[in-house]
Structure formats: structure tokens, C-alpha cells
Amino acid sequence: MLAIFEYNAGNQTSVKRALDHLGIPNEITNAPEKLDKAEGIIFPGVGAAGQAMDELQSGGLDEILKGLIWQEKPLLGICVGCQILLDYSEENNTKALGVIHGECRLFNPSWVDYENTPIRVPHMGWNTVDLKQECALFAGIEPEADFYFVHSYFPAPCEEHVIATTRYGRDFCSVHGREGLWAVQFHPEKSGRPGLKLLQNFYHHCQEASHAE
């Protein structure tokens, strides 16, 4: 079972619908005993980093989440859930979870895109990801596949945690983390077939990891 970490994140039901469609058992929850039993955790998020951190801290959910990560429970952060795994976000000047070293920065509207025009912020729509390291999440996904992005801030983790980059004005990190602790800036639950495949890959990883124990 995958647990969708519950903290009032706007896209939690979209993630649930995608997992239901794939036939992956799942539950939206923040109950410690259920999280403990889950084979993996999806950490969703839309909206602002500051609000997301407030929600997490208000119920001590930040400590629960960190505890799961220290236990090496597989985790997939999505969008704001990806950003606040870092130390800090420029958005609302937010001290974040600090699970992965790095920070989250605002796109600069003076950067220019491939048509030599200033980029629009938010970065909204379908874009490709360029893998810098091998990553189990992308097994069987065509390298040219597009994913759906919508965000104004982008993750800038330390070099060793950069798994993939995406071009928007310049190359930013669109996937970061390490084996079993992944964070994607795009929305796999809204990225059509490649996104669904990525969720399935995550589930397979979780199943293997829990059998290996």
C-alpha cells in the first residue's frame, strides 16, 4: 500500500485518482501506524511553500515525515512536496524540511526562452526532463516524454542530488534526491501515460524494498 501523506495538499485527491486508476492500493493518511505499514509514501503539494510548512508543523507532521525518511521508507515528493524537502525556499522566506541540501528559487522573468523572448512565470505546461543520473523512476519511459509542470519556484539542490534537469530560461533541477527518496517538480498524476508509468515505477520500487527487508 502507498500512503499519500495528508496535510491539506490540494492535489492529494488527484494523486489518489491516478493510483486508483493504476490499481495501486493507496490511502490518504497521516496516521503514524498506517504510514508505518505503508510500503512507500507519496508527499504531494500544490500552493505556497510557506503555507505547506505551516500545515506540516501545526500538527507535528514535519517530524513524522522526517522520521519516515530516516527509517528509509521510500518517498516520492511532488511539486511543493518536492521543494520543501530542501533546506529553504525563497517563497515566503520559508525554512523547509532540510532533508536534502539545497534551496528553492524564483524563476527570473528576465531569462529568455528558446524563442529568445522572456520566460513567463509561472512555468506552466509540458516540458521534457533530461536525466543526469540513472533513475529507477524513469524505467521504460521514453527520454523525449513530456511532463506537466506548474510552478514559479524551482529546486536548486546540491549537485550530487540533481537527478534530472529541465530547460526553462536555463536548466533547472526537475528531479532530485537519491535512491528511494525522490522528488519531482512536475505532476506525474497529471502527466498522461509517462506520469502514470512513473508512479507505477515508484510503487514497484516500494514493493521490492519492502520485500528485501
Partner: protein, 259 residues
């Protein structure tokens, strides 16, 4: 590279997909859930649903459609029509839409944009603008005026000013509909599209007038739009989405392939 988006728009009335036909009013042309699924599978980058029913009872039917769509398509979709309050916004977002489009509701009460952006995030809030060409005047210096009620009511607001206001209030995107071009199939109003696209920093979706894929190429190149809304051209099967994207790609536009 960020792709240019192709977005089919589905008008829904009493739970049915409908299309306005000149002199005949609206005729039902299919099931919105099945149609959305078909467009999703063909490679639509997003889908827009517009509730054109006015009654409260029909609203429930519409929200059921939204929920069904949300469990079957895995690309973003937005919902518009009859959004006048933050509660209306919340209802469609809870039913599973990613974005909600405010149009005349925002003209009457601009605060709905900022309230929606604060509560749900700017990425959720699309400002829908219906625009008509008028003579340039002190009040309407661009010669493009905001209208509501399908173009029957002129609001005395310049479209460029309104676009900037909407952006400042927190809209994450603009869906720009030319009432003059709508239904003509002669192409988007490129002048309007370019003016608005250049006036704001958020993405702009061109709407109204699509009759051929060359129109979409123009909208995203000459018009500088990030996306193009389409309706009849696909609803009646003249073109399908893969053929449209192939045409655009051949003209040098970056579009999304489905895999």
C-alpha cells in the same frame, strides 16, 4: 523545451456536450466524459469545460461530470462558467479540476481573483476574458473592450488594463476569447492576442476563431500565446489532435508528443 499547448474546449449543458450553432441555439453533440477521454488519449495537452447551464439543479449534474472526468483523464483540466464566488471555485476544484476560470464573475467582483489565488494558489485561477473590438477612445485606448453575457453587455473596461489588473490580483493564466472571431473559423484575433500576451508575464491562451491548424501556429508565433483553445475543428472531426500537432510541428512549433 516548453511545448505550446492545444486545448479542446467542451461546452456542457445539462450533462451533455453541446455546441452553439448560428440561428439554432445549442445542439447536443455527445457525452462530455467520453469526448474528454478521447481527446486525452489523442494527445490534448489540457481540457477546458464550460458549464453553460444557468440553473442550480444542472450545476449538480455538471459537477458529477467533472468528477467522472477527473477519474478518467490524467492531464490537467479547467472548469469555467457560472463561477461567481470562492465557494463556486472550491466546488469545482474539489470535484477534481486543476484550474477554475473566472470570467464575468471577476468583472463584477475582481476580489474573487485575489481570494481564489490566496486560498487555492495562483496556478488554479484562470482569468477568462471576453473581448470585442470597439473604436479607440479615451476610455478604451487599445480598441478592445471587455464584454460579458456572450458579448451583449459592454463593460467600459479596456482589455489590456483588465489583463494587467487580473495578473496583479493573482491570476495564474489568461484565457483570451475574441467574441468577434468566435465561431468564424477564420483564425484567432492575432492583434488582440499579441497585445495581451505582451502586456502580461503570465501565460495567455488564445481563444475564438480556430478553423485550421495554421491558425494555431499563428496564435503561438505571431500572437505570442502559450496555448490555443479549439472547439468545432475537433468536435466535428475535420481535424484530430495528432494531425493538428503534426501540422504545427512541421511549421516549427514545439508540441508535445504522446508516448
Amino acid at each position: 523545451m516548453l511545448s505550446k499547448r492545444i486545448i479542446p474546449c467542451l461546452d456542457v449543458r445539462n450533462g451533455k456536450l453541446t455546441k452553439g450553432v448560428k440561428f439554432k441555439g445549442n445542439v447536443d453533440i455527445g457525452d462530455p466524459v467520453e469526448t474528454a477521454k478521447k481527446y486525452y488519449e489523442e494527445g490534448a495537452d489540457e481540457i477546458v469545460f464550460y458549464d453553460i447551464t444557468a440553473s442550480a439543479e444542472a450545476r449538480g449534474i455538471f459537477l458529477d461530470v467533472v468528477e467522472k472526468v477527473a477519474s478518467q483523464i490524467f492531464i490537467p483540466f479547467s472548469v469555467g462558467g457560472g463561477i461567481n464566488t470562492v465557494k463556486d471555485m472550491r466546488d469545482v476544484l474539489l470535484a477534481g479540476a486543476e484550474k477554475v476560470s473566472v470570467n464575468s464573475g471577476a468583472v463584477k467582483n475582481p476580489d474573487i481573483i485575489s481570494e481564489g489565488a490566496t486560498q487555492f494558489g495562483s496556478q488554479c485561477v484562470v482569468l477568462g476574458m471576453d473581448v470585442k473590438r470597439v473604436e479607440k477612445s479615451e476610455k478604451i485606448p487599445s480598441g478592445f473592450e471587455i464584454v460579458i453575457h456572450g458579448g451583449r453587455k459592454y463593460m467600459g473596461i479596456d482589455a489590456l488594463e483588465w489583463a494587467k489588473t487580473g495578473e496583479a490580483l493573482g491570476a495564474g493564466e489568461i484565457c483570451l476569447n475574441s467574441i468577434d472571431a468566435d465561431g468564424t473559423k477564420d483564425g484567432y484575433d492575432l492583434e488582440l492576442t499579441r497585445l495581451v500576451s505582451e502586456a502580461v508575464h503570465i501565460p495567455v491562451i488564445a481563444s475564438g476563431g480556430a478553423g485550421h491548424p495554421s491558425h494555431m501556429v499563428d496564435a503561438v508565433s505571431k500572437g505570442k500565446a502559450s496555448a490555443a483553445l479549439i472547439a468545432s475543428i475537433v468536435h466535428y472531426g475535420e481535424w484530430d489532435i495528432p494531425a493538428i500537432k503534426k501540422y504545427m510541428t512541421n511549421k516549427g512549433v514545439v508540441t508535445r508528443n504522446i508516448w
